[in-house]
Symmetry: C2
Subunit: 252 residues, 2 copies
């Protein structure tokens, strides 16, 4: 059994928490589940904002198995925690969605930046701290009801780390790729005061510069903004571990 299969099995049995650092080398995904009638507009939104929303798989309506990137997996149970949004409002998280699943559900698996953490580490860029998910004022390209601003992942890096991180992440064009911005947060309207998840952004000594990547939470934020009647996603930091290997989807 691979580390990815192991992680999914643990999630299925309620034995897995946050997925950062779990099954290193395997591609992790953000999950968005919508009803079929929103699937086209959402897929189009992802196509129009590809750097933020690299779609790795779309399931057929009603089929909870991601046959291409994790055959045998079950998206109703194999993530450690799920977030439920109704009319754009988040309800209590749940450990599985087996009883909520309906025949018109379509699941989108979207590449997560966690995927290149290992490659960053190998290049001397620390990944276990100094990371935040923040809103910007950069507009995305709308599609149907989906619209909103780009959400980014931010890290504080030294200039040398920023250069290495740019080169390394550029090799993952199907997983957000190179940064969208380096330097002054104000230039992209990055809201460091109110990160989407976790602690407030640390203030960091002067030799560090902030580096920003398009974040796979962007489409989730767009679906929230659109107040879609029902959307189910992974809970933050509780992603889906696929069978794809990071080294398979990166370039030389």
């Amino acid at each position: 059994m691979t580390a990815a299969q192991q992680a999914r099995l643990e999630a299925r049995h309620g034995q897995l928490g946050v997925t950062r650092g779990v099954a290193p080398g395997f591609v992790q995904c953000n999950l968005v589940i919508l009803r079929q009638r929103h699937a086209y507009d959402f897929l189009l939104y992802c196509q129009r904002n590809q750097q933020a929303c690299p779609v790795l798989e779309v399931t057929d309506a009603g089929d909870p198995e991601p046959r291409r990137i994790a055959p045998g997996a079950d998206l109703r149970t194999d993530l450690p925690r799920y977030a439920i949004y109704r009319q754009g409002r988040r309800e209590n998280d749940v450990p599985d969605i087996a009883t909520l699943w309906e025949p018109d559900f379509v699941a989108f698996l979207i590449g997560s930046g966690i995927t290149f953490d290992q490659a960053l580490e190998r290049a001397g860029v620390p990944t276990n701290k100094h990371r935040w998910v923040v809103r910007t004022t950069l507009p995305t390209e709308p599609a149907g009801p989906f619209h909103g601003n780009l959400v980014v992942t931010m890290r504080w890096l030294t200039p040398a780390q920023a250069i290495a991180a740019t080169q390394v992440s550029a090799r993952f064009p199907f997983n957000h790729g190179a940064p969208v911005h380096i330097g002054d947060p104000a230039q992209i309207g990055a809201d460091l005061e109110h990160p989407l998840f976790g602690e407030p952004v640390d203030s960091i000594p002067g030799e560090y510069t902030p580096v920003f990547w398009a974040c796979g939470v962007t489409p989730q934020a767009a679906a929230e903004t659109a107040k879609i009647e029902l959307m189910i996603t992974h809970a933050p930091a509780h992603g889906f571990v696929s069978d794809l290997r990071a080294d398979e989807i990166c370039l030389p």
Copy 2:
């Protein structure tokens, strides 16, 4: 006026023929127009077969302007020649589709391998001859009614050229990227006897090896196989010249 705008204007006025070699440095696209009701399955087919079908833009239903990659252009007139398929059968080509356009038409612009010709030339790989579009027996991932085998572009190259061409094309992950196969055509069931367009494949001296890239005609072939009631595409070798620059969408 850029060379791309000039080319589209000439096409609009019936003064442009094949687009190979036209406006070098600008990204050329294959065009597929379908009715809205087929748009989701087709977009999904492209997502599932991304190497063959790199979607660069999808227009809103009824809107003939590709606002993102060629603002101001008109897809009804700005290609030199169009192919019309009804129930999967090709009718006579037409020079424009202004009178055929309907409010439920959705246009897909798909990256063409012509885009990296210039980069290949700079790397010493000749691009002006020895190129064919052939069917293989490699299945694609189906979506809705769309299914069929991969279509590939083949070139005869020397081993040194094959290595250079692999490196150069890998830098264009959103335009087919690296080859899907090098060497024995039989291994992918490449049908060299019946290329889709143009002359039969030349027999080439022994120092050359065939190199195969996923081809943007694949989705068009899938729509033909699906016998979709109506599909309009660019006529072979008469593509759409976008404002995107090849160097913008390639990696370092």
